[in-house]
């Protein structure tokens, strides 16, 4: 199957000249665009994963965040010089946590706060149980059995015996290694639980099983206020972050953007409305097509739905088919089912877009929104999960609650470019202030300092 689901290849009921006339463009431009879409396979560059670029150094961020930010980071780090941090999670590759740790760990170490990263091990039975826990904590129904509890505890115990906790700050990511806190009594470390998932509506039995472990930590960290639980320990807010130097977010030249658009048959001379997301019902790609169709009655634009998940996920394939059915024969809907390593191409498509949509019905934090805002794009997004932390309605983007609302905002932004530009600028500043990797580094340094101060005060009081 050609992953570029080009609707125009199968239809083209109007002659190029008629289409061109209706759009006020020369016919040859229209013809070339159509031919490009009809004939183009995925370019060879995206068929195999590219080599990962070298990890950036702290000084590489100076042009983006400024010298003053680096000064603050170095001052904070200097006070912690020689201290050590251990990060523990359940996977070294794949997933947002591993991606974030891959950047965070070297940057902290470069600041001379030596940071070690350990990954817990476990059999398939362990990861089946923890995946079920993960879903249950997100609210899916689950029957917690004694066997599942035993498997969870047994693998945590095995890892606890294998691992050493000699660092001053131990950070446990997500529920899988949660029970490592049993080692706390043998250490003088600060222990922190970094929860990356939404605990606002957990399965009560699973939460009651895990809660006693959580309560033994010095602090818990959540990605949004709304994801937290009532706990007797301090809870901090660490927003997830993007790396402005990654393939997904680095600056691109206009030629690079143009090349990707040419490869995928995206016409940059007309407005481009884009949603980047897996083909997943919770991202409501069909709703995006419906909103585009409503808006298209009033304004000219193309819709790009760029994502993945349709080849390795049976449900993704079903959703992709639903999207194609909803798109029908519209030649201006470009559906791209991309492999997971197409970060550069996604970056280029986002940068070529006139606006970005993330019309999720349910969402974690929504890093695709962060990416769009960072590129200064006016962004329309569903008011769910962590998205309202990023989009302050009408100031850093617009929030919508329905297909109709989304359609209206597409029309409004396309016909009010000055407003669109303003929220785009504000959105980028919001990301710069709150959601960049450097801010994340700063939060860890601040947390260490604050925990150490609290412990010193407690000792003094005692």
């Amino acid at each position: 199957m050609n992953p570029i689901e080009d609707q125009r290849a199968t239809t083209a009921s109007l002659e190029d000249s008629e289409i061109a006339e209706s759009r006020g463009r020369p016919a040859f431009v229209e013809r070339r665009s159509r031919e490009r879409r009809a004939s183009r396979q995925l370019p060879a560059s995206v068929l195999t994963p590219p080599l990962p670029p070298p990890a950036p150094h702290m000084d590489d961020y100076r042009p983006i965040v400024g010298q003053a930010m680096l000064d603050s980071l170095r001052f904070l780090a200097n006070e912690l010089k020689g201290k050590t941090i251990k990060m523990v999670n359940s996977t070294a590759v794949g997933g947002g946590v591993a991606e974030m740790l891959n950047r965070l760990v070297p940057l902290l170490s470069e600041l001379e706060v030596a940071t070690h990263w350990d990954v817990i091990t476990g059999g398939n039975d362990f990861f089946e149980v923890t995946k079920a826990f993960h879903n249950a904590l997100h609210g899916s129904p689950y029957e917690l059995t004694k066997a599942a509890q035993d498997i969870f505890l047994m693998y945590n115990e095995q890892n606890r015996e294998r691992m050493k906790f000699e660092e001053e700050l131990v950070v446990i990511h997500d529920p899988q290694p949660l029970a490592l806190i049993r080692s706390r009594a043998q250490t003088a470390s600060h222990w922190v639980w970094r929860c990356h998932i939404d605990l606002s509506n957990p399965d009560p039995k699973v939460w009651e099983f895990l809660r006693p472990f959580v309560e033994q930590y010095d602090a818990a960290i959540f990605s949004s206020q709304s994801f937290a639980r009532a706990l007797p320990i301090p809870q901090y807010l660490f927003y997830p972050c993007i790396d402005p130097l990654s393939e997904k977010n680095k600056e691109l030249t206009d030629a690079e953007v143009q090349q990707v658009c040419d490869d995928f048959g995206i016409d940059r001379s007309r407005p481009i409305v884009t949603q980047v997301s897996r083909f997943d019902r919770l991202k409501d790609p069909v709703g995006v097509v419906q909103a585009y169709k409503l808006a298209k009655k009033y304004v000219d634009c193309q819709l790009v739905l760029a994502g993945g998940g349709a080849t390795d996920d049976p449900e993704g394939a079903v959703v992709l088919q639903e999207v194609k059915d909803a798109a029908g024969n519209d030649p201006d809907i470009i559906i791209l089912d991309l492999p997971p390593w197409c970060a550069f191409q996604i970056n280029a498509i986002q940068r070529a877009s006139t606006m970005i949509i993330q019309k999720s019905l349910k969402e974690g934090f929504g890093l695709t929104v962060t990416e769009a805002l960072w590129k200064g794009k006016p962004t329309i997004a569903g008011a769910v999960g962590g998205i309202p932390n990023q989009i302050i309605h009408k100031l850093t983007g617009v929030l919508v609650h329905s297909v109709e609302g989304c359609a209206y905002q597409i029309r409004y932004l396309l016909t009010h470019p000055e407003f669109a530009r303003t929220i785009g600028i504000n959105g980028r500043e919001h990301v710069k202030e709150n959601f960049l990797m450097t801010t994340n580094v700063k939060r860890w340094l601040l947390l260490y300092r604050i925990l150490a101060q609290a412990k010193a005060q407690k000792r003094k009081a005692a």
């Binding site: 010298q67 930010m69 000064d71 937290a228 809870q235 302050i392 100031l395 202030e433 601040l446 604050i450």
Partner: protein
């Protein structure tokens, strides 16, 4: 035409140390799902929560010029759809307060009066809850220290924008006086009373924090001339 006369600039007895502040956001225990709950929670929440949702929110959204002055006003509009209340809350200028308790009382008065005149609004569910948070603050030095006006201007132009917020807005709570660190230093150490007053009059609610920085710099540059 006679040359305008300026008072001779004093040599300062103490230099101006540009500091900045960074904060970590702590999630509070209280939340409000309607305006009555907001009123109750605002009565009992710790001072650092009031500080977070008023003073700090200005820093966190320093790049926005319009429509965002404190979290209570913003929530009243976008989650409760109460524009009249939102306008009143948003019009509270944090710089009129040198202590958090006074600011808390003012916010409570506004919400209380609104709910008395709009009793049905109190229990109406908000679109999304208001989560009370607080900040753990850490003050950091910058590389800039000034003992001349030129040095002061250089520092002002290069410090992080958080430093402007720290010295210009949060200073009131530290000084317990209706002034700011910049005006105080210019007046006490340089005798520039007019410039100090002009800086104090800058409207922070119709400017971004970068805009505030530019206005302060312009006032100082004029004093130097």
């Amino acid at each position: 035409m006679p040359e305008p006369t300026h008072p001779p600039l004093r040599k300062p007895s103490r230099p101006f140390y540009f500091n900045t502040s960074e904060s970590l956001l702590r999630i509070g225990r209280q939340k409000a799902s309607n305006l009555s709950e907001l009123l109750d929670a605002l009565h009992t929440c710790p001072e650092d929560s009031v500080f977070q949702h008023t003073f700090r929110t200005l820093q966190e959204h320093h790049f926005i010029r319009e429509g965002f002055s404190n979290d209570f006003g913003h929530w009243s509009l976008f989650a409760c759809n109460e524009p009249a209340l939102a306008e009143q809350l948003a019009s509270v200028d944090v710089r009129e307060f040198t202590a958090i308790e006074g600011l808390r009382r003012r916010m409570l008065e506004i919400i209380d009066q609104f709910l008395q005149s709009h009793p049905r609004s109190g229990a109406r569910a908000a679109y999304e809850p208001f989560y009370f948070c607080a900040s753990d603050l850490v003050v950091l030095p910058t590389r800039f220290v000034a003992d001349t006006l030129k040095g002061f201007l250089d520092g002002l132009n290069q410090v992080p924008v958080h430093s402007i917020h720290h010295h210009f807005i949060e200073a009131r709570l530290r000084l317990h006086r209706m002034t700011n660190d910049f005006s105080q230093w210019l007046e006490q150490e340089k005798g520039l009373t007019q410039a100090a007053d002009a800086i104090e009059r800058i409207d922070i609610y119709t400017n971004t924090m970068e805009g505030v920085r530019l206005q302060i710099a312009r006032i100082i540059a004029e004093s130097m001339n």
